[in-house]
């Protein structure tokens, strides 16, 4: 698999505080990588390191296979756009002037595509209105437009829906999906709003206390969070045979427990097992939501 970003044992320490602690993660090309973690988990610190705003204490990362210690990393960064924490915009400029300024910073020879960019983020009709008079959602979209100047193929968005109203959240979500699907832009999006991320992400990285707890694809996560019946029996081999005969999908958890990914006829299943001298100890519906999965990963007692 091709990766846009790879980090290896990346650490960032501030005096006695470890913001990142040997963090290793992989962002696949073409993905929307949901970077999940509670406030203070280290999401923004990682983004700042990748953007070159801060230097790692130890470890390294590769952006498009270029190491952060290589001077060519500056060239790699030109291929990415980022909105770190708050949108980086000049408040006393219009949306158009902000984009023009970014075009100049990038050294683009003309302002071609500027209008299309404004249209893409829905700010084409803001005219002479200055950014200081924009709503939070408009500023966020302008920040994304600035990050998109120069056609980057990797976009980093740090908590892009924080503080937005429901309409703003929908607009940003649709914009991210559009950028990923139509413009083939890889997106790294950090958030602590799991429900919102689940509507976007194709891959996940769960972070806590500066460490990646687990990386997985959306498909893997879906499997983990799938609804199932958890059955505990006295003989797991008999249960397995019976479930095979009934053509039910299942997964053995331990020598007494299995998860059945269907809604079987409980009476029929119990009777069949009883005939085979296999006693049913308990059956309950097992439904792990994304949130409960995340809490089980980070440890519920520490979760704020």
């Amino acid at each position: 698999m091709d990766y846009v970003l790879k980090t290896t044992n990346l650490s960032k320490h501030y005096k006695n505080f470890k913001a990142l602690d040997n963090l290793t993660m992989h962002v696949p090309k073409g993905s929307i990588y949901g970077f999940v973690g509670r406030n203070g988990a280290g999401k923004t610190t990682l983004i700042r390191l990748i953007c070159g705003l801060q230097s790692p204490t130890s470890g390294d990362y590769e952006l498009y296979d270029i190491s952060n210690t290589d001077k060519a990393i500056a060239g790699s960064r030109r291929r990415m756009g980022a909105v770190v924490e708050t949108p980086s915009i000049y408040l006393d400029m219009t949306a158009k002037d902000n984009l023009k300024q970014q075009y100049r910073i990038l050294g683009l020879p003309s302002f071609d595509g500027l209008q299309e960019l404004l249209k893409l983020v829905g700010l084409e009709n803001t005219g002479k209105k200055k950014a200081k008079n924009f709503s939070l959602g408009m500023r966020q979209r302008l920040g994304i437009a600035i990050a998109l100047c120069g056609n980057p193929d990797f976009l980093i968005l740090d908590e892009p829906i924080n503080g937005l109203d429901p309409q703003g959240i929908i607009e940003i979500r649709e914009l991210i999906l559009k950028l990923n699907r139509e413009h083939k832009i890889t997106v790294l999006i950090s958030s602590h709003i799991l429900d919102e991320l689940s509507k976007l992400a194709t891959h996940y990285g769960f972070i806590d206390n500066g460490r990646i707890l687990r990386e997985m694809s959306a498909q893997e996560l879906e499997e983990v969070c799938r609804k199932c019946m958890r059955i505990t029996v006295t003989n797991i081999r008999t249960l397995s045979r019976v479930l095979d005969e009934m053509e039910l999908e299942y997964k053995i958890i331990d020598d007494r427990t299995a998860d059945i990914y269907a809604k079987p006829n409980i009476t029929r299943l119990s009777l069949t097992l009883a005939k085979e001298d296999c006693e049913v100890i308990s059956i309950d519906e097992h439904d792990e939501s994304l949130e409960s999965f995340y809490i089980s990963l980070v440890g519920g007692d520490r979760h704020e």
Binding site: L53, A74, I89, G107
Partner: protein
Amino acid sequence: MSRLLNAEFHRLIKYKPYWIDCIAVVLYGIYATLLNDFGYTPSIDSFLFEALPYICIITGVVFSQFIGEDYTCGTIRNKLINGHTRKTYYLTEIIVIFLANVTVFNLYVITTILAGLLRKWEFEFKTKVLFNCYIACIFTIFLITAMSVFLIILIRYKVAGLIAIVSLSIFLLIIGNASYNKLRQPEYRLPNEYEIEEKGITEPIQNALYYGGNIRKIYEFIIFSDPNGQAVYDTELMYDKYIEFDQSKVATYPYIKIIIFSILESTASIVIGIYLFNRKDIR
């Protein structure tokens, strides 16, 4: 760097406080020359470089906001993420602010020359002396710029940067003025009426307020190493020499010393500034 320079000059052109700065210096030039009744005919020279202490203060006011905006709006991130190095950013800000300051200074010089000519005043000093003084002023402006950028970039916050730079500028201006006043005392002075009538002294006598030897060297070091002291020196020297009608003293005008101090201090502040800026975390 050219890309960043282009972007920053465009931003400067749209930066209102800078235009207010330009207009203010022209109005000040008009006020100083056209609207004052002196009771005698002054020389154009005595006004030419008076804007220098003004630039010392105003640089802090105007440009702490200009660079500070990059931090408060987070736009510095756009520049660094897009592959510009911190060194490039630092040097770009110095070049932009230096040229902006030189423009303000030149506006004042042009205003006073035009106003002086309009009032039919004349130049007292030779072109070469004025040119040397002008070049020394430009180096002083470079030093002021380098030190201001050093403070603004490292302090990062608009208001804190503004307070720090303006306070420091005023402090350095006071130090510069005080040092200059110590140095301007002549070694010998003419006796006063009491000394002539009561003591019968007719020849010039030793001036008790004159500082010589090592103390003089210390004051010279202070005034030349203090950018605002340099500004005071450039401005007042031209005025003093005019008042004294002592052309010979102008020949000893230490513009080379001023230029050397400016270059050394500017280089040191830029090297240290870039080193510290490279190590600084940006949020």
